[in-house]
């Protein structure tokens, strides 16, 4: 990697200030960023670690019943600490990578990175979460804007993510055999006022909501409601691990399995 300065502030305000300098970059768990640096694919002037900021850590239940997760909370902490308050999300966190990745990688890093095969973007979009930053609150529907693209501005950091807790939810992840990211992952959340279905791994436009399935399931929450629905393969990803048609097919299968798991 190239040389860089390293800072480890203990407050959000200090972190934001440090990120104000040119080419500074936030460092979460480093599970994406450090390999990128090692390959010399990025050259930040300084890295601002968010791991010592107490106000960005932990899982708590808000007064309105929603679950708020600090932006620097690790996947392992979510898997353990959200198990009671939001089990489906905790299960999603528990399936990310391996123990080393889960003990370093953070929810803020994952959501900011918005890898098209990552799990958290599906969890956040499927739950209708709110992404809280140092300056504003952004609805998940507005936040994810295509592969590796988000609504975040330069220097803006995710301080927490607020999840409304559905009546039932399930994340169905079909593993890409090599990376074990999602070849296709479907996050289904059933709320009193309707069903949300978010799909990761599949689309060239990144995480998306499968609105036809949402409508059909909101009307009638049964596997059969999906029977006549099909995803258009045109926008699906095609790579070594699966064709467009295969991914489109898997979206339906995984959605069906998510229905089975929540019925």
């Amino acid at each position: 990697m190239y040389n860089f300065e390293f800072e480890k502030p203990s407050t959000i305000a200090d972190a934001v200030a440090a990120l104000g300098s040119e080419d500074a970059q936030a460092l979460g768990g480093g599970q994406t960023l450090i390999p990128t640096l090692k390959q010399r694919l990025a050259a930040p002037s300084s890295l601002v670690s968010l791991s010592s900021i107490a106000e960005m850590q932990g899982v708590c239940v808000e007064d309105d019943g929603s679950v708020a997760i600090g932006g620097a909370t690790t996947h392992a902490a979510v898997a353990a600490d959200a198990a009671g308050s939001y089990p489906a999300l905790a299960a999603l966190a528990g399936q990310i990578g391996d123990p080393a990745v889960r003990n370093r990688g953070t929810i803020g890093g994952s959501i900011a990175n918005n890898d098209p095969a990552a799990c958290y973007p599906a969890g956040a979009l499927g739950s209708g979460a709110t992404i809280v930053t140092n300056t504003r609150q952004i609805a998940a529907d507005d936040f994810f804007q295509g592969m590796f693209t988000t609504a975040l501005d330069e220097g803006e950091i995710i301080t927490s993510v607020r999840f409304p807790v559905p009546q039932a939810a399930s994340y169905q992840k079909f593993l890409q055999p090599a990376s074990r990211f999602a070849l296709v992952g479907v996050y289904l959340a059933r709320f009193a006022d309707g069903v949300r279905v978010a799909v990761t791994g599949a689309s060239e436009d990144g995480v998306f909501r499968w609105s036809e399935a949402e409508q059909a399931l909101s009307k009638e929450f049964r596997e059969d409601a999906l029977m006549d629905l099909n995803i258009n393969p045109a926008n699906m990803i095609a790579d070594l691990h699966g064709s467009k048609n295969y991914r489109a097919h898997l979206v339906k299968v995984m959605t069906k399995r998510a229905v089975q798991a929540t019925i």
Binding site: F174, P177, L183, L240, H241, G242, V253
Partner: protein
Amino acid sequence: MPKDSGIGASSKRREDVRFLTGAGNYTDDINVYGQAHVYFLRSDIAHGRITKVDTSAAEGMPGVVKVFTGKDFEGVGGMPCGWEVTDKHGAPMQEPPHPILAQGKVRHVGDPIAAVVADSLEQARDAAEAIDLDIEELPAVMNMKAAAQDGATLVHDDLKNNICYDWQLGETDDAKVNEVFANAAHVTTLDLVNNRLVANPMEPRVAVGEYARATEDYTLYTTSQNPHVIRLLMCAFVLGLPEHKVRVVAPDVGGGFGTKIFHYAEEAFCTFAAKACNRPVKWTSSRSEAFMSDAHGRDHVSKIELALDADNNFVGLRTNTYANLGAYLSTFSSSVPTWLHGTLMAGNYKTPVIQVNVKAMFTNTVPVDAYRGAGRPEATYQLERVVDKAARELGVDPIALRRQNFVTQFPYDTPVALTYDTGDYNGTMDKLEAAADLTGFAARRSASEANGKLRGLGINCYIEACGIAPSNIVGMLGARAGLYDAATVRVNATGSISVMVGAHSHGQGHETAFPQVVADMIGIDESMVEIVHGDTSKIPFGMGTYGSRSLAVCGSAMVKATEKVIDKAKKIAAHLLEASEADIELKDGQFSVAGTDKSVAWGDVTLTAYVPHNYPLEVEPGLEETAFYDPANFTFPAGAYACEVEVDPETGQVSIEAFTAADDFGNIVNPMIVDGQVHGGIGQGIGQALLENCAYDENGQLLSASFMDYAMPRADDVPFYGVDHSSQTPCTHNPLGVKGCGEAGAIGSPPAVVNAVLDALNSGGKAVDHIDMPVSPSRVWAAMNG
């Protein structure tokens, strides 16, 4: 009763103590005082003409010691190939030069163009970025069939085409083969791909070169399976150095799987640069570099045809294979698709007429060479897939079809140049049928179907030629080296023993198994014997470890040397006991005079050898013997495997529910280690069958260039294995009666897995003839919905 020491005991692997406690001394752990680091600037273009390499800016960068390009190696030899294959018209193979650093052209992504030696690796990388490079891109030669056409773009401009050789084995009369097929009652044909693999040993390659100016001695520390071979090739063919001035050390090496047999440019470079820079030079491959510079494995595209008569006897077999050699000839690459592959096409069957045709191709890809099994998996995969397909087409039981065609009389001369010394294929199949509970399969299939899954059973037989090899035979076949091995048994005055062996242990457990043999022969405790390996300055000579040869070949040398030691010790004992040498017996570490109670202990005799006060004057003092052993034949391990899979018909996901291996390895020294070797081999075979795929795009870019896209098998991808090694027909021509077990699992498992998947897909009214490896979920789904 299982034995608790000596031959046949499952002694615990003594080397694991240091490996598992972080105390191993791996190659990358070696750091030499004052060392500089080298970074190789590698081509990111598959095929192109180098029009400019300007290193002037790089040379002035901080910490830079020296920058090398192809020009610095113009007077130096290239990387040699150790096996000359003669094509079917009698011409030698086309053998293009393979420079240490690219000269004129780059020929694959990863081909090294320049090397920067600097105080630190990061400084070397910084400087490499300052090298001004122009490469005029040429079309990449990727498809082997297209590459064989007249007028195809040439990988090597000076060759007449991209075909290294067009080789044939077995029946040379095409008309005769055609006639067999024309008269056959049934012909089964299959087109298949043996997928390209990357070995990915846990420790990437490392080389540290050192030069002592005052004495002109070189030392190379390297991740090698055969340090003497590296020394010989590098001294004789590449750098032109006297062997006695070069020491090659391969310490603890973190896995090899074949890919660390070969002499690599980086090794020669570090040795050369150590003198040129007058500083030790170290290189440690990154994982990304390993993907584009370690020799790959497999990569065959084959058509196989099997002819059967009206009684389902195999009457003819013909194969046509394109074998990818990559851009350059790696050390043993030419032997893999030929003598390690064509010779195995008879398999376990007495097919009378066999013709094997192989076109070996140059392409703009990483060189391909031996990988666990080397040629034999490619042969077994074709044969066992086509036999299974024939059984399906004919509606006969695949086991019965195999049994009917087994070779049952030994020795057996195959139509493809081998003589099987011994075996019992029906006996081994009996063991498999029992161990795998094949009668219970129908019930297990019903249970799977009740869960919405398809279940399949795949059977496979294999034979391999191991213990490579009789030097006179391989010499006739084109090997440019002998393939014997050597051992020195050095008995110390107090009776403990160091055995210097030419085999190299990089995970195989030699440090445990070899002493079991010597201790057993003498009747002393295993802890009194230790082996020394991996250092040309310590061991007499060695051709190294590959082809499941260590115990069969080097172990035999060790037995011979131990016998010489015992003979001499008996002379000394006879003197001490005032008896005739012929009457001396050795048992449990005691020399005694037959029929008397007079005896003297091993330790007293060894002490006498070194303190020869009361000593037979005609015998030399000391107790140390060396033996070289050249085998009389290959060894022929064989086995039968059964794999059971479940397929999720909705997603195409395959899971391996059971895997049973019945192997005949002849005599076994350490059953636990043998089980472990089989487990590892099957794991790698399952990796090839289900997961691993080294893929390029049409421009020669490596698509699977990291573990993000190259799927290595993980623990939860494989089942608990059932292994049965009770079928034992000892090898007839080596002293231990051993055959070798290192590659069996990797040879026998891929066809078992794929046969099982196809069996599953053909249950429940589906009909799928063929899927290429890796049988990934997407491929299974596509085949089912195709």
